[in-house]
């Protein structure tokens, strides 16, 4: 099979999980580049071009709150998961497990 095709579908499969990873990780406040690195270390590869706009979007949706930290030489925007974000993360985790269980039936128990 075409490598590009595989990559494309893997990317689609991962897309939604990046949101979940952000919501879970940012229960501890974090800034863009720091989050990028910690996600990368955790094995969740995400492009910076995707992550930064995503953080803005999640903030707009009220799932993250933000605060500019000007203590250091460079001002940084610190994000933190809001109460609403926590609730969404919970729902997403539950869904994730449900899907996993459902898929397990196909992968382990044949095709039915």
């Amino acid at each position: 099979m075409d490598d590009d095709l595989i990559r494309q579908h893997l990317q689609e499969l991962r897309r939604g999980t990046v949101v979940l990873a952000c919501l879970l990780s940012l229960r501890q406040p974090g800034y863009g580049y720091g989050l990028l690195e910690s996600l990368d270390t955790a094995g969740i590869a995400v492009d910076a071009n995707t992550l930064y706009p995503l953080l803005r979007r999640l903030e707009k949706q009220g799932l993250l709150t933000s605060e500019w930290n000007t203590d250091e030489a460079r001002p940084r925007k610190f994000y933190r998961t809001s109460a609403e974000g926590e609730r969404l993360a919970e729902a997403l985790v539950t869904e994730w497990h449900d899907i996993d269980t459902a898929l397990a039936r196909f992968t382990h128990g044949g095709t039915r």
Binding site: G32, Y33, N49, Y52, P53, R56, K60, K77
Partner: protein, 310 residues
């Protein structure tokens, strides 16, 4: 370490954004660029690399603000397309026909009238496309109707039958036929193609201008409206009845003209050297032809209405 290059990049990315968003995105971009460049060794080469990885600043702004760079979005695309097609298909034939009729009436050469008509129609199409698009673009950008679906679809909106309207080909053929009829009707008088010794001779009795030709032109105009109506609504019993009425009106107007004997131009008859009985036969033939064609057209309308209902 960031330099003037970063300043230029940030400026290019944020210059079109509105005030508060602009300052916000600007600060975020600076943070992002500074952090990434620092992680890569804080060199001018790294800065260059980072900016190039981020890509076109305008697209970055699009990503950050979530506002897609588009003129008319998915919300208004279909209403825009429908209205554009509808207006163009209704207005262009009318504009073209009006130009041809007025051109023929003013005795311009038929070729230049036709070329002029094409030009006028192209002009009208451009105007229509521009204004319809402009209105929808303003609607889309001003966020009117944001969040609500413009046209909630229900099964009631399904066409009554698989194919209610007539296919475009048939409609266009009808409109072209009607336009040609109108042009011939007027053209036979003003610039008749029938020539004897270089002299152009009208085919029909000029006396018919007093009543028959205007009536038929009005009927042709009504037929144009009728054709468009049927195209949109499809053949119904009502459409068939209107079709029959139009046909009957044509016969009612035409039969007296034919039977009075003053139908063809007497001058033409004379030049052709027809005797009174030949003329009579020709007129009889035309009467039979008119009756047959009209009768078939009326029956055809009802057949189409029945088929559309089935």
């Amino acid at each position: 370490m960031t330099t003037a290059l970063t300043d230029r990049y940030v400026h290019a990315a944020t210059r079109w954004l509105p005030g508060t968003t602009r300052r916000d995105v600007e600060a975020e971009l600076r943070e992002r660029i500074a952090d990434t460049v620092a992680a890569r060794g804080d060199s001018p080469a790294a800065e260059r690399e980072v900016l190039e990885e981020m890509g076109d600043p305008l697209l970055v702004a699009v990503d950050y603000t979530g506002r897609e760079p588009r003129l008319i979005g998915p919300r208004y695309f279909l209403p825009w397309l429908r209205l554009l097609v509808l207006v163009v298909t209704i207005v262009l034939p009318i504009v073209g026909a009006v130009h041809i009729i007025s051109g023929v009436a003013s005795e311009d050469a038929i070729v230049s009238t036709l070329i002029g008509a094409v030009g006028v129609m192209i002009n009208a199409a451009i105007q229509i496309a521009f204004w319809v698009t402009a209105v929808f673009a303003v609607l889309d950008w001003s966020g009117a109707g944001e969040g609500e679906t413009t046209e909630r679809w229900t099964v009631d909106k399904l066409p009554a039958t698989a194919k209610p309207g007539r296919p475009y080909g048939e409609t266009i053929a009808s409109l072209v036929f009607l336009a040609v009829m109108a042009v011939l009707l007027i053209g036979q008088q003003t610039s008749s193609p029938i020539r004897f010794d270089g002299e152009s001779i009208p085919a029909l009795d000029p006396g018919l201008w007093a009543w028959w030709i205007p009536i038929v032109l009005v009927l042709i105009a009504l037929e144009v409206v009728f054709t468009l109506w049927v195209h949109v609504k499809g053949w119904t019993w009502l459409a068939a009845a209107v079709n029959a009425a139009l046909g009957a009106a044509f016969v009612a107007a035409t039969l007296p003209a034919l039977r009075s004997g003053d139908f063809l131009n007497p001058e033409l008859v004379e030049r052709l050297g027809w005797s009174a009985s030949t003329l009579d036969n020709v007129l009889q033939g035309i009467i039979v032809g008119v009756l047959l064609v009209t009768a078939w057209d009326i029956v055809d309308g009802f057949l189409k209405a029945r088929r559309a209902r089935a």
